[in-house]
Structures are given as C-alpha cells and as structure tokens.
Symmetry: C2
C-alpha cells in the first residue's frame, strides 16, 4: 500500500507536467513497475497526443509482461482520437492496474475498470483519490457540470483595495506575484475581465514568460459593448481569439471576435462550456468578481495581499451582498516576497 501510494504520487507529478496543454482532456501520468523497480513511465503530453498508458507500455518494451501499471485516471475504453487504452493494457500482459480516480466521463465511468477485470487483470481503485481529484479539478468539474472551473483572482492592498480611487490597479502586488499570475494564466483555457478593466488597464491578457502552445481565450464581459469603440487602441484586440459577453442587442462582425448576448453569468459559463473551455480565470475588476461571487459561480479564489495601504479605493467584491457566514474555506497560504497568496475553495 505504501509502495502503491509512492508510485501514484509519481503519476501525479508526471501528469502535472502537462498542466495547461491537454484541455479539455484530463492530466494523466503512468508508471510501470516490475519486482519493485520502475521499468517504464509516460504522461499525456498534449491534446490529441498518445495517452500516458501507451507511452509507459512503449517505454517498458519487452519487460512489460506481468508488471503493475500505475495511472492516476481510469484507462479509457472507447475509440476517441486514440484507440482504447484498455486494449493495449490487456494485450501487453500487465497483470495489475492501480488507479487513483474513476473517469467520470459517461463514456468511461467504470467501464474501463470492468473491461480490465473481465480480462483477469487485478484492479485497485481509489489510491490517493482526493489528491487525484485536485490534480484534475478542472476536468472533473467540467465533466460533471458542463461548465468551466472558475478561479477568481485579484491582488489587493492589506486594507482590501484592488485599485485606488483613480482606478489604478497596476503594481499592487510584487513582480514575483505577477509572475505567478502568468503561470496561472498558462494553466487555464480562458481569462475573463470586465470592460472597465480593459479600458483602465489596457491589458494584453496573454501568457508571457511561460510556455503555452495555445494562448488562452480572452473573454470580456462588456454589457454595453464599450470596448468595441476603442478597439484600435486596446492591446487585448491585437492578437488571439476573443469572446465578448454582452447585454447589448447591437451586433458587429470582426475576425477573431465573437459577440454573444447573455442574460446572466451562468449563461456565459454554459456558452464557454459548449466551446470546451474547462477552466476560466477571472481577473477582475470588482464588478465582475462580485457577480461571480454573489451568484456563487466560482470554485477557487487566488487572493494576493500586498503590504501596501491605500486608505480608500475599490474593494474586490464591492457591494456584494456579504454576510457573516463563510462561503469559502482557506486552502493554502503562501508567502511571495512581501505578498501573501491566500487560496480558497468555495465551501461545499
């Protein structure tokens, strides 16, 4: 059992290498062990690429017979853009498979395990199950709800301001914190901001400093389609695909810009889900963060707290109907230079 956990942990590490590369597929790592020695490893590198199990079997080569396969997610059992992994496992002569999570995808959902067992392979499920769920939290949430996993991110002063009275929100957090945000961006499928943030900060909303084969989709919540007026001057429109969610009935046609009318944030999430966006990073401003918070349409919060003090300004959830009731749980705190990064999950 202790050995099983050790190898499943290695699967997690291998799987995590591809964070941000595999969406809408899950992160998967695989390790093959024979007589207490690793004989092969593999991980799912990119969407459309070979599966982790196959890579590990190939890596093990002729030694694979009678070995144990460790993999964090149930092997798939149907023809996708890859043939069923279950077939390859059975053919290889592997005699035991240890799995962290059942794949909730209705096309698998226990079927992979069933097929393996029917072929006399010993299968163990649920090793470090919770850690496996966390690793693939984007995927699990998306498969279960059809909507992207939503992360709210903001940087605030110690006294709770994400911008000063002139809406200056730049440089609230340290350079290292801002670099961390670049990493976060490289993990997600889409980044959302409100129109005011676009007009005030003129951000690019791209991943720099971190390798990302496909830039995240840019999402703008713009009730009155105000950003359209200043399109020429706004960096966000310079490259990449953009979706604008609006309440306006006006319609425009631009290359790479899709304008979608919505009545609620939930509708926007459903639209993103339809487009196979499994994760969304909401970077502000206050109005947009408040909308997601108030409607409880989020999964996780990344709050950067800088040692600055403004005295007055804009709070992150300005005018949200707050309460003494806690709607979030502190998950982790991390020091980044002089900043605190506090990570919360929505209370279940």
């Amino acid at each position: 059992m202790k050995e099983d956990k050790k190898y499943i942990k290695l699967c997690f590490k291998l799987a995590a290498i591809s964070r941000g590369y595999v969406s809408p597929n899950p992160l998967v790592g695989a390790v093959i062990v024979k007589k207490n020695r690793i004989i092969g490893i593999g991980y799912f590198r990119r969407y459309g690429d070979k599966h982790a199990e196959i890579r590990a079997i190939e890596d093990a080569g002729d030694d694979v017979k009678d070995s144990t396969l460790y993999v964090n997610l149930e092997p798939h059992s149907y023809y996708s853009n890859n043939p069923p992994c279950t077939d390859a496992i059975i053919k290889s002569g592997i005699k035991r498979v240890v799995i962290s999570n059942i794949d909730p995808n209705p096309k698998v959902n226990g079927n992979g395990i069933k097929i393996l067992r029917e072929n006399n392979i010993e299968v163990e499920v649920g090793v470090l199950e919770k850690e496996g769920e966390k690793l693939n939290e984007f995927y699990f949430h998306y498969i279960r709800t059809g909507k992207p996993f939503v992360i709210l991110k903001f940087a605030q002063t110690l006294d709770g301001f994400i911008a000063d009275l002139n809406y200056n929100s730049k440089w609230i957090s340290s350079e290292s914190s801002r670099k961390f945000v670049q990493k976060l961006r490289s993990y997600v499928d889409a980044i959302a901001v409100g129109s005011k943030t676009i007009l005030k900060d003129n951000p690019y909303l791209t991943v720099r400093n971190f390798y990302k084969p496909k830039q995240p989709l840019k999402v703008i919540f713009d009730e009155e389609l105000e950003t359209i007026k200043y399109m020429d001057k706004l960096n966000v429109f310079k490259e990449g695909k953009i979706i604008i969610f609006t309440k306006s009935n006006e319609n425009y046609h631009f290359q790479n810009v899709e304008i979608i009318k919505i009545n609620s944030i939930e509708e926007a999430l459903i639209e993103l889900g339809k487009r196979k966006i499994i994760s969304l990073l909401v970077e502000g401003g206050s109005k947009l963060l408040s909308g997601f918070f108030e409607n409880q349409l989020f999964n996780k919060i990344y709050a950067f707290i800088s040692p600055k003090v403004f005295g007055k300004g804009l709070n992150p959830f300005e005018n949200t109907k707050g309460s003494f009731e806690e709607k979030i749980d502190l998950y982790k705190i991390k020091r980044i230079e002089n900043d605190i990064l506090a990570i919360y999950y929505k209370k279940c």
Copy 2:
C-alpha cells in the same frame, strides 16, 4: 560557536516564559555550563524579583567555579531593586560570560561588560543578537525612545472590512484567532481603543483565559469624552485602571480613571511612556488605527484575515492617506483555523 548559540537559544526560551510579567524590565534567561553540561538555569520571573543570573548561579551552587554563564542581556552593574549582577558573577568564580545583547539602558550600556572584563572574565557579546533584539523589542524600543512599542491589531474580512455597515465588528475572526488576541493582550502593558469601539462593542478589554498577574492598563481615545456619559453601562469601566486621552477641556474625577488632554497621538505615547508603559496594543477602530498608521506611530501589525466577505463596510485604515509605497514589511504568516494571521513590521 555552535554550542554558544545552542545555550543562548535556551536563554531566549527561559526568558520568554515571563513575557508580560516583567515590564518595564527586559526578559532575561540565564544558563550556566561547565564542561559541556548545564549545571544551572534561571530566568527573571517578575518585576522586582531576583535576576536571572543570580537564580542560575544559585541553581549551580558550589559547582559554579570556572563555568560559563550564558545570558541574553548584558548583566547590570548598578544598584536597582537588585544589587549589581556583575558583583555576583565576579564573586562566583565564573570564568566566561556569553551575551546576546548589550543593555541600551544608559545606566548599563556596556558598563557591565567593562566591569566583567576588568575582573579577568572572558566576555563574548552579540551571539544571536538579532533574535535577542526581537525577544526584547518592547524594552529596546522603550529604552531608546521613551515611548511604548505599538502593535496595531485588527481582524478583517477577506475583502478588507473590520466591521459591516452597522458597525458590527464582533465575530469577524474565528474563536482560535480571538484566543490568540487574548494571549497578545497578556503580553502587553496597555490596550487602546477608540470611543466608538467602546460604545459599539462594549468590550471589557481584559485578559481572560491567560494568566496575567496585573491586568493591562486600559486606554481610551475619546476626543469628546463621549464614553463618560454612558459610564454606568460600559463594561470597560467595571474594573481596572483606565486612561482616557481627550481633546476636550472638560474635567471629571473618578477613581481609577485618569483623563489626559492631548493634541496628538504622539503626546499620548509620551504620556504612556512617562507611566512606564513599554508596550501598547491598539485594537481599533478604524479611526484610531488610521491615526497611528498615518503618523507612522507603530512598530508592528497583527492583521487577522477571515474567510468572510462583506461587500461593503468599514476598512481598517479608512481614509488614511495611503500610497503605492510600502510602509510595512511582511514578517510572518500563520494559519489559524480558516483565518490568516499576517504579522508586519514598520519598514525601517
């Protein structure tokens, strides 16, 4: 050298036992070592009590000759309510003394060390000097400035509110965080709050749950002497000594309540210093915290950040003239249940 640090660390531990008991004197621990074995320990237990060095020498008994004395603060060399420790050390036959900090008290300030050396005792100074300074930060600050070491303490929601719009500030932080505040109170000489906090929260401002031979002085900043009107109903007036700082010219005479007219917070600190208050915990509200912050009249901040969200309310440094410049350094972060405790020092 490594051994020296080990024993000085033990001195710190012994000294810290008396946190909150010795003011306005410093915390002192002493360890006597002979041929790599501890033969005596001592710590300064209470204001007016025997000094740490004397206790350690007594504990070592006849073995003390030719030993090494470790002590975090330079032994004193003058007649106070105790005879000079230097005399006892010389008389004991101790041959080496290792010290963390020179005592900045003008009556000592290197004189203790000089006397020991003149008597052929080998003296080493500055071992873990910075840690020693932190241990006695109240004392060092007071000796150097004549004013108490000021700690600003507040509990806020994640979005930066210390009270909701109805000024309800109770139960923002968890029970464990509030217990931690009780401990903080037990360490200081005085606790200050503004009149509004008194009128809204009706606090006792006492140390419960933690042993404290002498309750801290209660300090109220009350410009218009409003609290006086409701004296009968206010818990703060039920027991213990109170100082009220006011701008009002009115005068009242009550037992245990001293009313002092001031023109600035700094004047209040000078008045407290005169009364041998070496540490002051400022517990709010917003106006008082802002006053201390804006005038940079503080040394340390304890910010408790709860996972609650209010959307609107009162910020801790409401209307302070803030800036993008950082005036504080993050010292430590600590998780207390679902709360974050962030400890800052004023930037030097």
